[in-house]
Structures are given as structure tokens and as C-alpha cells.
């Protein structure tokens, strides 16, 4: 048999030689993403709801969301690990799915170069949709992966880019699922999950043009290739997930931004979101002269409290984590301080306290003013914390006083608090 002619154009089916490509492989990878991407989308939407964006413009980085905020609800305070779980899942799963996404894109790459660019009007529209799908997927993964590493290279604020980008991506994703799921079901039913995985032969040539008509000799089996993708996911998972736990587990998170170890030791040794130095907190701001101003609407009941005044008020304890939007968290820390509802009483709200606007001394930071909802103020575990794990707060953890609220995202647990305004958000 004469050797096949050499093909140099990627538009020719014969250009693609991998014996692995085929509808079965693409379907299997697609099913993994079919489960994973909706989890990412829902946990992402929940994370936005957790900020209580409809409570105050201070909490909302996407105020022109319009209908895209249709699902917003009052973020609860129970269970107290809710945000920690949600965000740990969102970020850890996203990182774990990177190799699956890359493998999925690799498996369909011949279609990108197929000519003619559009066989019909319908095909042209579908290709536009695929650009939104692939561009959207990569845009979401890239902005997310960069943001958790504090590398803000993307063009603008992370919140609107990642939020609106998610809607563009998910719209294209949903359309892709509706149009392709029947094919996936058919392929997996006909070829079988296990049968095809164990079968070393190439997939039968398909109409979609994924199977190489002139495959090279395989250097790895289908099982081996999927195993390699799975190993990549497993490796990313075990070197990331630990950043959600204190102690030895954090040491296993070798590459996660808040993995490896803690910034310090002792009662204040746990993870820091932003250090005092970074946000412009000076020693004299938090010294003897520091006072907390507690007020109601229009300055009603303006009360000034020094740290020793606060320590003379009834002290309560709460075991709560710090959970960051970046997908890292601490285990529960034991906080002590004054209940927010007791401070609301000082501002004249003896019963059913309203929400509160919290202001920080920090000079920089998008959430140096942020609002808490009434259910958060009323929870007996919501504190203006003065001490943690039996010691005074350290400067990096918000000395002289910080907010701690169950199930709230880290940025709403304002540090270096200077003013609490109840009932005026």
C-alpha cells in the first residue's frame, strides 16, 4: 500500500492524526463539564447574593445588573459555614476542572479549522455561539484563576467582568447542552461507558469529523489519556483544597495562594486577607485615641466608645470562620466581643434592630464601607469582636475592633471599624 499523501492544512481531516479523538471521548469530557459548570455557575450566583447587593450600593459592584439579579434573596446566617462551603466549592472545583476544560477543547479542535467556515445560515449562527462558549469559558477561568492569585491583569474590576462574563458564558453553555445532549446520550448509549473505555480500537468514523480518518499509531490508550486528565485534576485538587482548613491540611495546599502555612503563630496566627500596612492603617489611628462612633439615622444617639468602654459592655463569644471570595477560609476561630444587637440598642433600637452601615479606618479597599442586613445584626453570634482565640486582635486582624458575622463573605467582616450607623445604609 502506498504511503498516504502528506497533509499540511488543518482544514483537511487527514491533518489531525490523534487516534484518541472521537465523539465518545468528547461526550465523556462533556458530561464531566455538564455536571461541573452548573455547580460553578450556581455557587458563583450564590456568592453574589451573599454580598447582599440589593441592600446597599456599598455592597454592589454590579449595580446595573437589572434582570440578572432576579434571584437575589436575603443571605442567611445559618449554617455559619455556608459561605465557606460555597466559595471553597466554587474556587476549588473551578481549578480542578481546568484540565477537563483543556481536554474538551483539545478533543474538538479539528472543528475549529473545518472549511467552509459556514455550511449554512444555521451553521454560521452555531459557530458564533461556539465563540461565546469557548471565549466565555476561557474568560471566566482566566479571570477567576488570576483573581485568586491577586494578579489583577484583567481589564477592569473583577466583579463585573466575572459576573457578566458568567452570564454570557452560561447562556452559550446552556444552548450548547440543549443542542448537543441528545448526541451525547446516543453516543454513550451506543458505545457504552466501560465498553469503549476498555476497547483499544479507534472510535468508528463519525459524520461530525472528530475521528481521524488517517490515525497515527497510538502511544497511549483511551483509558491512559483519560487517566492523565483525571490525574491532573486530582493533583490540582489535593494541592488546593487544603487552603480551606487550618492545621496540617493547609500544608498540603502547596500552590494555593493561602496554602502552605499560616502567616504567623499563636492566637492571631491564622490567614490574613489584607494586612494593616497594605490598606494604610497607621499605628496612631488605632491607639489610645481611637473611638467607635455608634449612631442611628441622622446622627440619632451618637455614642462614642473607647476600646475600654467596649470591653466593659457584656462580652459574648462565637466560633466563626473567615471565608474569602478568593476560595480560601480558616477553620472556626473563637471570637469575643460585643453583640451587634447590643450596640444597636445604644443607638436607640432596643427591639428588632435594623441593618447597619459599617465604616472602616482603612484608606483603601472596595468594601471599606459595607452594609449588613437586619438578620445579620440580630444574630446573637454577630459581634464587634475585640479579641480572638483568647488574645487581643492583632493589627492585621482588625485591632482595635472588627465585625464578625456568621456565613458572611470575608469582606463584610470589616476590620478596623470606626463607625456603625444603624438604620441608614
Amino acid at each position: 500500500m502506498p504511503p498516504a499523501p502528506r497533509v499540511t492544512s488543518p482544514a483537511e481531516p487527514g491533518f489531525w492524526r490523534s487516534p484518541l479523538r472521537g465523539p465518545w471521548l468528547t461526550s465523556v469530557l462533556g458530561v464531566v463539564l455538564l455536571v461541573g459548570v452548573p455547580v460553578l455557575f450556581v455557587t458563583g450566583l450564590l456568592s453574589y447574593a451573599a454580598y447582599n447587593p440589593d441592600l446597599s450600593p456599598r455592597n454592589d459592584k454590579t449595580p446595573d445588573k437589572g434582570l440578572l439579579g432576579f434571584y437575589l434573596f436575603d443571605w442567611p446566617t445559618d449554617p455559619h459555614w455556608l459561605y465557606r462551603l460555597n466559595q471553597g466549592l466554587h474556587v476549588t472545583l473551578g481549578i480542578t476542572l481546568v484540565p477537563v476544560l483543556l481536554a474538551k477543547l483539545w478533543s474538538v479542535i479539528p472543528k475549529l479549522f473545518a472549511l467552509p467556515p459556514a455550511r449554512s445560515v444555521g451553521h454560521a449562527l452555531e459557530r458564533v455561539s461556539l465563540l461565546l462558549l469557548v471565549g466565555g469559558a476561557l474568560f471566566e477561568f482566566v479571570t477567576g484563576v488570576l483573581n485568586v492569585q491577586l494578579e489583577y491583569l484583567f481589564p477592569g474590576s473583577f466583579y463585573p467582568l466575572h459576573f457578566y462574563g458568567a452570564w454570557v458564558f452560561f447562556g452559550a453553555f446552556a444552548a450548547h447542552v440543549v443542542l448537543r445532549l441528545p448526541q451525547v446520550v446516543r453516543v454513550l448509549r451506543e458505545e457504552g461507558w466501560r465498553e469503549r473505555l476498555r476497547d483499544p480500537r479507534p472510535e468508528p468514523v463519525d459524520a461530525g469529523g472528530l475521528v481521524a480518518p488517517r490515525p497515527a499509531e497510538p502511544t497511549v490508550s483511551r483509558r491512559g489519556a483519560l487517566g492523565m486528565v483525571g490525574a491532573g485534576s486530582a493533583l490540582l485538587f489535593v494541592t488546593t483544597a487544603g487552603q480551606n482548613f487550618d492545621g496540617p491540611l493547609r500544608r498540603t495546599a502547596l500552590f494555593a495562594p493561602h496554602g502552605g502555612g499560616d502567616p504567623g503563630s499563636g492566637p492571631n496566627g491564622f490567614q490574613i486577607n489584607k494586612t494593616a500596612a497594605k490598606v494604610g492603617i497607621e499605628r496612631q489611628d488605632t491607639g489610645e485615641l481611637w473611638q467607635l462612633i455608634v449612631s442611628g439615622p441622622r446622627g440619632r444617639g451618637d455614642v462614642r466608645l473607647s476600646r475600654s468602654d467596649l470591653l466593659r459592655l457584656p462580652q459574648h463569644g462565637a466560633a466563626l470562620p473567615i471565608a474569602c471570595v478568593e476560595g480560601w477560609s480558616t477553620s472556626d476561630q473563637l471570637w469575643h466581643g460585643v453583640r451587634l444587637r447590643d450596640l444597636a440598642a445604644l443607638a436607640g433600637f432596643d427591639e428588632d434592630p435594623p441593618g447597619v452601615l459599617v465604616e472602616s479606618l482603612q484608606r483603601r479597599g472596595a468594601f471599606r464601607r459595607a452594609a449588613l442586613r437586619d438578620n445579620q445584626v440580630r444574630d446573637p453570634r454577630s459581634l464587634l469582636a475585640l479579641r480572638v482565640n483568647g488574645a487581643d486582635l492583632s493589627p492585621d486582624h482588625g485591632y482595635p475592633a472588627r465585625i464578625i458575622v456568621p456565613a458572611a463573605p470575608g469582606v463584610l467582616n470589616t476590620k478596623w471599624v470606626s463607625r456603625l450607623t444603624f438604620g441608614e445604609l
Binding site: L125, L150, E151, G156, W167, G171, P218, T219, V220, F255
Partner: protein
Amino acid sequence: MTGFTHRFRRWYGEGPLQPLVLLGSFALAGYAGVRLLEGDWLLIAVWFVGAALVHDLLFVPAYALADRALRAAGGRRSRGEQNREEWSRGEWSREEWSRGGWVNFARVPAFLSGLLLLVWFPLVAGGVERYESVTGLPAGAFLDRWLTVTALLFAGSALCRVLQTRRRARKQRPPAVH
């Protein structure tokens, strides 16, 4: 109705469900898209489309070429058309499958190490200036960890290869006759 569907399909190229689904998706993309593009719209659009282009036209060819170079260096020569047809018929033995030599023993650790580098590139390359001052954690640790994990992956893979070769050599030795 079937007559309409038939005519529609001939003109449009797809069934009537496809345009409905796509238009719904485009409507959502448009609604979110105008909000996404608020600000530096050109740069944001470049990021969005560029992500797909850079991946498809730069990353995929780059790792495909790297893999081809690895296979070439691995020296696995094709045994010709007949061998490939035997594979197509599912007639390859276990030995035939592992005839790839050491290629996979280099490919797997390279893939895993490259994946870690791809995902954590800013931290590993030490490019995140604010990292230490924001978190109070040492930024230099990531490069050391990546180099260590990479070395362990390759070392572990090499060990597997040595064990495999030995096992095979032992199998091929004729059994001792007593």
C-alpha cells in the same frame, strides 16, 4: 407542518429548534454583554475573543508540537500500515501497547508539571508584587514548591520505568530448568 420543517431545514441548514435556542442564548449574551463591555469595551472584547484565539492558535499548537517532539525523541517508529491495521482491529497485545518506550514516562510528569505551572503561573513566576504585602505570606515559596514537585514527578516516573523494564526483563528470561 412537516412540509414546512423540511423547507426550513433546506433553507436554513438546521431544524427549527436550533435557531430558537441560539436566539435565546444570544439575547442573554447581549443583555449581559453590554454590561460586560461597560468601561474599556475594546480591551474587554479583546480579552474575551483573545482568550479563545490564544488558546486555539497558540497554546494548542505549542503543546501539540512539544508532544510531537517528545514522540520523535522517544524514537517510536511506526511498524507500518499492517501494524496500524492490527491496532484498528483491536489485535494489539499488552507488549505492543507499551512499545512506546519511555514516551509516557516523560509525557505524564511533563503534563502534570506544566498544568501546575499554567494554573499558578503568576505565583510560581513570582510576578505578583502585592502578594507578600497583602497576605503576609512568603511569595518565594511557590517556585521552590513547583521545582520540588516537578522533580518528584519526574523521579517517580523514572522509577516506574525502571521497575517496568526490570519486570519485563525477568519475564523474558527463560525459566530455570532443574
